[in-house]
Amino acid sequence: MRRGLLVALGYLIAAANVAGAQAVPKIKFEKYTLPNGLEVILHEDHSTPIVTVNTWYKVGSGDEKAGRTGFAHLFEHIMFMGSQNVPVGAFDKELEAAGADNNGSTSEDRTNYYENLPSNALALALWLDADRMGFLIPTMDKAKLDLQREVVKNERRERVDNVPYGRGDEMILAALYPKGHPYSWSVIGSMEDLGAASLDDVKNFFRTYYAPNNATITIAGDFNPAEAKRLVALYFGPIPRGPALPARPNVAPVVLAKDTFMVLEDRVQLPRAFYDWPTVKLFDKDDAALDVLASVLASGKNSRLYKRLVFDMQVAQQVFASQQSSKLAGRFEIDITPKPGQSLAAIDKVVQEELQKVMNEPISDRELERVRNSFRSSFLNRLSGVLGKSEILNSYNYMAGNPDYVQQDAARYEAVTKADVQRVAKQYLGKHKVVLTVVPEGKREMMLTATANGGDR
């Protein structure tokens, strides 16, 4: 699920430029492609006797059809329900008995499946993953679909419907992106669409997207590369290449014609305001500067919005800012929760002041330095575990077109200047936005409006 992913990314986005700071090391790897189109990435790390097998399918919620939101993620669940040679329930039982941790996740852009297991069990993971890549459909039935449909509906309740402010994001996505845009609906999807998914949808989706030529398998950790190659060829080699993939949606940059102010009543004690601007996609030339801007505004006690609203004035309980960039598009979000009895409209005035300031004047050297250093050490921290490294290699392979990208990625943050930060603030946060106020039930008067917001632009 995307929620997990965003948290993980936020973690990385913590640092920049201390004298003598360590450079980000390269991740050594080997990449090759099987005749059936399956990409294979191998990364050896023998420091602990464990190995991760991490398969990325290049399909996510952004590929879903109208009326079937949430399907890519529902399908992910079905992938654990057994296949031709793996009876229902056996997938997880075999892995647990071998000491494995395994899971999957779905984002707008991709779906992943990983097993993290003792190094002697590599063949088990490959056997299981090959069986569900090649032979899922023969034992697929409506009972499997119906069961996981209920599980996913409960996942939605647990992550969205029964969580304070949880339903806000779907309103924002629908307002921020034009109708039909692949990011205009949530990864988890609507209850109605989850209910409508059919067995034919499952079969068609599998035939369309779950083919070796749409997948990358990364093996990271303690293994013998010759043996790993032999096993990959043995289990995955015979799986036929699938038909040509439908083109990924090609979308134009999002431009809002006006500001939009919305309100959502929720079972909450305190209101919360969300501000969202369309920005740029991952690895766009302005992506890193927007990350830096988010940190300058709301990461740590010295960040501008935190310091004024939470530390000095003590009118807000929390403030977050993030540049959330994906394969096709990105958005910049600020959200703020006032303390009890504090006016969101008054807080909004301070937000507008601070945004004007960051658009009109360069940030300080110290601010830039602090943020860069935090980013720099976060890159180092990402390299500690083999599961994390397998995810990084897959991510760069798909998103940047090259697994060997960690140093280029880190260099983006080294290159950001004070002028860049000021420019992107003006260029993106100076444009139209979507503002959602989630308010306690019956308190619609707490909603931020164009007037409170200093007039429509």
Partner: protein, 480 residues
């Protein structure tokens, strides 16, 4: 049709390649035969002690230029005085909010500038101060770490800010059914006079009444070197660590620590359903269980194996029943929370409101069924999982440091993890059955359910698991 032909062609190609490299046949119908699991020997732990009583526990790990430091102070929320709930937790929170020579903003500036992680927290049994740093910043990072440990200022204006934040956190807690369920479950199980019955974050009343003198007093009484161990894991050597830590923390003064005295927990009564109304809740939050065992229990391994079978992993009985068979929930689990004294045993899930009654029936079925003999194959799966998954908990410096915290807190032997596999192996079907019968009593459970009363109460009555009592968010009877 076309796909099938392609498959045949690809298969031929592989067979041909295989015949060149040697005999290779592929029978997909059976799992591959695996070689023996890797031998795991955990890195050696070096111990030292400074003259002031501070113990050092050092593990070298040179894979990346990083190091983790965890100072474990052996006093936690269990020590909160009765009317001062939250004092241990707030004391830890205040460590990074200003020292005698640095303001809160200066500390935060340093953390970001150095690109390090530095924070403090507390649980029932301990306060911890954690540092994660690239070794290139080791000296500056350790100087900051030592400053927050030795010289917290507890300034009034910083405390007021933190207090307001905490009071708001407690207000927001009312929005989250899962947090309400946890809070009420503890209070119902232990009662309000037992330390484990209170919220570690405190209450509105206790936080409002707290002063910096309370924090000073908790800090002074408990943050002494002879009550602390510093765990160090990473790209460092024991000699280097000892030298640096002696210089920074060698002057820390000893003190007399009064150990926590924990009252006996109340005796559990007959199984009762405690219903907490959360109008509009899409799911019902279940917390079912009883008072369990302290970490020192001799049944640790038997309980760990038994709980793995009952609700510890994805293929455990609770998860398979409530999620993978019935689809009532996204996840169901169980856990023995072992502390210095007996912490709770809890089975839990977030269940779709309409299936609240059915879910309770299935929970009760599993809590009864675990008392029967567990099939050997299920026992072995659980044992293999516990044994073979252990190395993945020792991969990063941070993970290794965290694994050493219970060794410090509960006096486990230094070779604890090296004998872990053999200890798990020794557990038999009879052991599992014995501990299930001893520690899980379906006739004496607290069943706490936070949900939309008007939709779920009738169904719960019909299940007839026990009398239904209506409670508030703190687990207390509702006074009209």
């Amino acid at each position: 049709m076309k796909a099938r032909m392609n498959a045949g062609a690809a298969l031929l190609a592989v067979t041909a390649a295989a015949s060149i490299s040697g005999a290779q046949t592929l029978d997909r119908s059976k799992p591959p035969t695996l070689g023996p699991p890797p031998k795991v020997s955990l890195p050696p732990i070096v111990t030292r002690q400074l003259p002031n009583g501070l113990k050092l526990m050092i593990v070298e790990q040179h894979e990346l230029p990083l190091a983790d430091f965890v100072l474990v102070v052996g006093s936690g929320g269990t020590m909160d005085p009765a009317s001062k709930g939250g004092v241990a937790n707030l004391t830890s929170s205040m460590l990074t909010e200003g020292t005698t020579s640095r303001s809160a903003l200066e500390i935060a500036d340093q953390i970001a500038y150095l690109g390090i992680g530095l924070g403090a927290g507390s649980n029932w049994d301990a306060a911890t101060v954690n540092l994660h740093t690239p070794t290139s910043q080791l000296d500056s990072a350790l100087a900051l770490f030592a400053d927050v440990v030795l010289h917290p200022a507890f300034r009034a204006e910083d405390f007021e800010r933190v207090r307001k934040n905490r009071l708001t956190t407690l207000v927001q807690l009312k929005d989250r059914p899962t947090a309400i369920a946890d809070q009420a479950y503890a209070a119902i199980l232990y009662g309000t006079s037992h330390p484990y019955g209170h919220n570690l974050l405190g209450t509105e009343a206790s936080i409002t009444g707290m002063t910096t003198a309370d924090l000073q007093s908790f800090y002074g009484a408990n943050f002494v070197p002879n009550n602390a161990t510093l765990i160090v894991v990473g790209d460092v050597t024991p000699a280097q660590v000892e030298q640096k830590i002696s210089a920074l923390l060698g002057g820390w003064k000893r003190g007399n620590v009064t150990p926590a005295t924990i009252a006996d927990a109340p005796k559990a009564g007959a199984t009762t359903v405690y219903l907490i109304d959360k109008p509009g809740a899409a799911q019902s939050s279940f917390r079912i269980g009883s008072i369990g065992v302290p970490r020192s229990t001799k049944d640790y391994f038997a309980l760990n194996v038994m709980n793995t079978i009952l609700g510890g992993t994805f293929t455990s009985r609770l998860m398979q029943n409530l999620r993978e068979t019935h689809g009532y929930t996204y996840g169901a689990r169980s856990r023995f929370d072992m502390r210095r004294s007996a912490g709770p045993f809890t089975a839990s899930a977030e269940v779709v409101a309409a299936k609240t009654d059915s879910a309770l029936i299935e929970f009760m079925k599993e809590l009864n069924a675990i008392k029967d003999t567990v099939p050997a194959v299920e026992l072995n799966k659980a044992k293999r999982f516990l044994q073979l998954s252990m190395p993945s908990d020792f991969e990063t410096t941070q993970q290794i440091a965290n694994q050493l915290i219970p060794v410090v807190l509960y006096g486990l032997p230094l070779d604890y993890y090296n004998s872990y596999v053999a200890n798990v192996e020794s557990i038999t079907q009879a052991d599992v059955q014995r501990v299930a019968r001893q520690y899980i009593n379906p006739a004496s459970l607290a069943i706490v359910i936070v949900g939309d009363r008007k939709n779920i109460e009738q169904g719960l009555k019909a299940v007839n698991a026990g009398p239904i009592m209506i409670r508030d968010f703190f687990g207390q009877p509702i006074t009209p």
